[in-house]
């Protein structure tokens, strides 16, 4: 079990195809894999489905993908931000589809895909527009909605350190969606501040076991 070590972000994302479903970690700035996103843009990949908590803010990262109309569809919980002008414009122009899902259901659906759970009942969203048309069930007197897994072809993840076996650790709230997305995608590509030798991450502290990681690339963040 060894992660491929890419020399550059461009090399790391070279295999991502047009039409792919791509998970992108991050909650706001922390955990967003900016170098991988830029490399994916440079690769020319288009017609993508992006699964991420937000739909980009400012002019970089996911916002840049949207601005360049590389994204056909977004699955997220919170696209509208004060600086989400690129998403807002694309959405109003009908140039990007949106599947809105509550944040916890988004996380649990991603977790379910990685964990081989076929579907699950959650109380979140019951009785709201976001549960319209979904199956419901009363369990122990509580109304629940049936939700299905969200998987992806590729996950682009940002982490703190990765070892040659692909084991990852994160920093503070930059952990957010990284661990569950790494498990839910067929191919997981991770940018880290530093690649270390196997054995340099204490086994007890590994957050993402290397089994979930395909490719690592070291990026020096400013």
């Amino acid at each position: 079990m060894r992660a491929q070590l890419a020399e550059t972000a461009a090399e790391a994302v070279a295999g991502v195809e047009d039409g792919a479903t791509v998970m992108i970690s991050g909650f706001g700035i922390p955990g967003q894999p900016f170098d991988l996103i830029d490399a994916l843009l440079d690769s020319g990949a288009r017609d993508l489905t992006v699964i991420s908590n937000n739909a980009g803010g400012g002019d970089g990262g996911i916002a840049r993908m949207i601005h360049q109309r590389r994204v056909r569809r977004v699955v997220c919980s919170f696209p509208r931000q004060t600086d989400s002008w690129h998403f807002d414009a694309a959405y109003r122009a009908g140039e990007v589809e949106l599947e809105l899902t509550p944040q916890g259901n988004l996380a649990e659906r991603i977790r379910a895909a990685g964990a081989g759970i076929g579907a699950f009942y959650t109380p979140t969203g019951y009785g709201t527009r976001l549960a319209e048309g979904k199956e419901t069930r009363v369990i122990d007197g509580v109304d629940h909605v049936l939700e299905f897994p969200l998987a992806a072809d590729v996950a682009l993840v940002s982490a703190h350190r990765g070892d040659h076996a692909g084991n990852l650790v994160y920093r503070k709230t930059a952990r957010n969606f990284g661990p569950i997305m790494a498990a839910a995608a067929s191919t997981t590509i991770v940018e880290v501040d530093r690649i270390v030798e196997t054995g340099q991450i204490d086994p007890e502290t590994v957050v993402t076991p290397g089994i979930y990681v395909d490719t690592l690339v070291e990026v020096r963040r400013s």
Binding site: R80, A107, T128, T173
Partner: protein
């Protein structure tokens, strides 16, 4: 130490002659949080509650982006680009902090481990239904974030809001006219004019009519700058505004 910490003694006890201002309201909410609780404070006005928590209350703050033991808002050198709250504002660590991923964080909430969450609202119904994610404007870009998870996940969901909309409509209503965030989930509503308790157990949903179940029970805990008769005139008939 939290430089934003204010004196919790400023929370008015019981009725007051004047409506509460934003900080007084936050202080009232803060004083009602039981010692030793774990709380989640929503984006916006509820965030202000943190400034009024007394150190001796030992309240631990959860933020749904993966942190238990959130400290105060970070300033200057404290700012760490990897450390933000649910509003994406830089924050600090409190003692005993831990980190976890999003699925674990929402499991913590959905599993009923958070004692209280405090949210803003467009409307709350007398059955405890909450509307705080969507105005219903068909032109709006819908965004929900963790609102629906928070509404149903915590042991107690409290709302802080102005009692009236800008055009003078009461926001404590018989039935929601805004899209619902969660049904029958709100147990207390803090406004500048009054604080209300809602008995749990009944909900209607988006614009639902009375479902024939037991009557909703809303009771007034305290009034501020208004008498109970006046309050009753503003609100749905099912709100009991009499003496406690």
């Amino acid at each position: 130490m939290n430089p934003h910490q204010q004196d919790p003694a400023q929370a008015p006890a019981g009725d007051t002659a004047e409506p509460l201002d934003r900080d007084q309201l936050a202080a009232v909410v803060a004083a009602d949080i039981a010692p030793g609780s774990v709380a989640n404070l929503g984006i916006g006005q509820p965030t202000r509650v943190a400034n009024h928590l007394a150190a001796e209350q030992d309240v631990t703050l959860h933020t749904e982006n993966g942190m238990l033991g959130m400290g105060h808002e970070a300033v200057d050198d404290e700012i760490d680009p990897d450390l933000v709250n649910a509003g994406k504002v830089p924050v600090t660590e409190a003692e005993g902090v831990s980190y976890f991923h999003h699925a674990d964080s929402f499991a913590m909430m959905r599993g009923g481990h958070i004692d209280v969450c405090v949210l803003g609202a467009y409307q709350v119904s007398v059955g405890g239904d909450l509307a705080n994610w969507h105005t219903g404007d068909p032109e709006a870009i819908p965004s929900v974030g963790g609102a629906m998870d928070l509404a149903v996940g915590a042991q107690r969901t409290w709302v802080m809001m102005k009692l009236f909309t800008k055009d003078g409509q009461a926001k404590l209503v018989e039935a929601l006219s805004y899209p619902a965030t969660g049904l029958g989930c709100v147990s207390r509503v803090y406004t500048e004019y009054a604080v209300f308790d809602i008995e749990p157990g009944r909900s209607g949903g988006d614009g639902a009519a009375d479902d024939g179940g037991r009557e909703p029970t809303v009771r007034v805990r305290s009034v501020h700058g208004v008498d109970r008769e006046q309050l009753a005139a503003w609100l749905p008939a099912t709100v009991e505004c009499g003496e406690r």
